[in-house]
Symmetry: C2
Subunit: 344 residues, 2 copies
DNA sequence: TTATAATTTGCAACCGGTTGTGTAAAAAGA
DNA sequence: TCTTTTTACACAACCGGTTGCAAATTATAA
């Protein structure tokens, strides 16, 4: 019946006998409009049930007040916390968040990047798909002066914003913790390419070993193809079946750590007495497993907030000669000692 | 330098000496444009690096090709799976998904509802905040003919689409399972208002008891204020400290179930021999806890997909006299028997 | 060859705000 | 009282596609 119930600033203008420009400016407290007029405009707008049309408002600037977020998936605890952080910061600034999942596929990532651009988002936050090597599909944002933040899984070289943790240092800290607990034969599970976060963590692991004069034993380092429960179980079993069994495991992911504990329990190996385990991320499962899994805290929500804030801060700085073209922000991680590694 | 690198259909039109309307139509294979022209338009567009501007395209229809999703939070496993499902269905149809978190606050929900409207989304999927009683803030979507789907936590009476599970039946099944395992004194933890999913689950619990001639003992039913780890721990402790202790617990959430198992372990009560436990949702923690928690499967991703499909299907049916004004879709749940309740 | 129909393409208004520029009115200064 | 500023508001172009309708071109029929 009433159907086209949409109230526009034209309707308000007509009713008040003012120009639409006056309405537009009055609605946003422009200084050239008198207080009295502003008040009247706002009152009338409210009475008429006027609601701004972001779509139309964004057309001129050719940008929606929207942050595009492109992630491998949204169901991992770490990534959903990341989203939560982004969303909180965006909401505070009156921005909306649009989410897309690459499902760790390079092809999907390329498509979605385009889709994000087609939607004229104000900024983009991305954690790369596992298989992504070439990142030229992100060039369009750079050319277009759209702020772009890579978070957690970042490209090796790309002149833009990165928000990450120091994976090397975290790997070092985790390994050192095990050494401090008296472990002599520390195993490690790794994954991904030589540019991945896992590789950095492994480098930290190696550095800690070396610093404490513990020789690196190749047999104690297993590489898995995917960070899944099944692959983790196989890796754990392989490690714990060695003749000279490890007395500690640095698992660069909580699923891996949990799986190691479960495997040990199945094999009758006592955790932490015979095997100390430390994970990574502080996922919910880490404090459900018995014994609780020591882990490395990963500031997911904070990373999200930081990323969003970087986007928001760099919105207006368009085409300035002295703008920041590259910035790497490191967030803190900590060793969270729980039962699975507490030996002393 | 090059800055305004944006290629529009005007640029293409100029280059090809055609009208913009021809370009617009050619780009979308309109039947009134010859094959040859279409081909040439597309080729030129690609060469010039043209990218459609969804913003401008949406202005006329006054709707973005976007589905708005309003949830209490995105970090619960169930809800992130829901998002994943929505996103998959939306992506398939070329729609984007915008996410907002009410953080279980009624006030935030009201604001975000407006924000969703201001963004002129094509449809809305919502799971209500805990405290929401009045749902009149959703009326704008109905009046505006914007498809609206409530999922999981739905209002008592609202003439629109609902996608839910049969909580009564699920509660019944869970309880019956415990009865079948030989439990005689089955405890229950409940939460929320008398219209919440938890209340339905409790009704199912009561029905199962009655059907099997097991008298309902008030002491065996504890109500908690929030479905959190801490509240759950207190409730479990209270139940397991009773003189006449329960021999089974139906926990309408996996956190509750996990907490019950942990409490039992602390108190030296054997699960499942002395206490059978069944949870709800099939969250990851349910198969990490030892013994594994039996649970009720909750088709989160499928619910998301279904909700999105309902939105998409109802986009065009505007103002038809015979349109669907209310539809409740029930998805299936199943008892997933694991160690925590397996006694026979 | 001419009339009629079918196929192509172009014109221009439109979607709903935003904003540069121009001008009248009110306030301040001479 | 007259000029100079300020203040307050209006006009109209603009953002980039979309689409109804008319016009032009080509194909088919008579």
């Amino acid at each position: 019946m009433k159907e086209n119930s949409e109230v526009t600033i034209y309707d308000i203008a007509k009713k008040l006998n003012l120009a639409t420009s006056t309405i537009s400016r009055g609605l946003k407290d422009h200084h050239t409009i008198s207080k009295k007029t502003i008040e009247m405009i706002k009152k009338t707008a409210a009475e008429m049930g006027y609601r701004p049309n972001n779509l139309a408002a964004s057309l001129r600037g050719n940008k929606m007040r929207t942050i595009g977020v492109l992630l491998p998936t949204v169901t991992q605890p770490f990534l959903s916390s990341l989203i939560s952080g982004i969303e909180i910061a965006a909401q505070k600034a009156g921005y909306t968040v649009i989410i897309m999942q690459s499902h760790d596929s390079y092809e999907e990532e390329v498509n979605l990047t385009q889709s994000l651009y087609d939607n004229r988002v104000s900024g983009v936050i991305c954690s790369l798909a596992m298989g992504t090597k070439d990142t030229s599909h992100f060039n369009v944002f750079i050319e277009n002066n759209t702020p772009l933040v890579f978070v957690d899984r970042v490209p090796q070289s790309f002149e833009t914003f990165h928000v990450i943790i120091d994976n090397f240092s975290a790997g070092y800290k985790a390994t050192k913790h095990l050494i401090d607990q008296g472990c002599k034969r520390i195993a490690h599970i790794t994954a991904g390419s030589e540019f991945s976060i896992y590789h950095e963590r492994k480098k930290g692991y190696l550095a800690a070993l070396e610093e404490h004069n513990i020789p690196f034993d190749e047999n104690l380092c297993v590489k898995i193809n995917s960070v899944t429960y099944d692959d983790a179980a196989k890796a754990s079993e392989k490690l714990l079946s060695l003749k000279s069994r490890p007395d500690g495991i640095f698992a660069p992911g909580d699923i891996l750590g949990v799986s190691a504990i479960q495997c040990a329990k199945r094999m009758g190996i006592k955790v932490p007495e015979e095997l100390a385990v430390i994970g990574f991320n502080n996922d919910p499962i880490s404090y459900i497993i018995d014994p609780n899994l020591s882990t490395i805290t990963h500031p997911a929500s904070k990373m999200g907030q930081t990323s969003a804030e970087i986007i928001l801060k760099n919105l207006k700085q368009s085409r300035k000669k002295d703008q920041i073209v590259k910035q790497i922000t490191f967030l803190n991680t900590e060793v969270l000692v729980r039962e699975s590694s507490k030996r002393i």
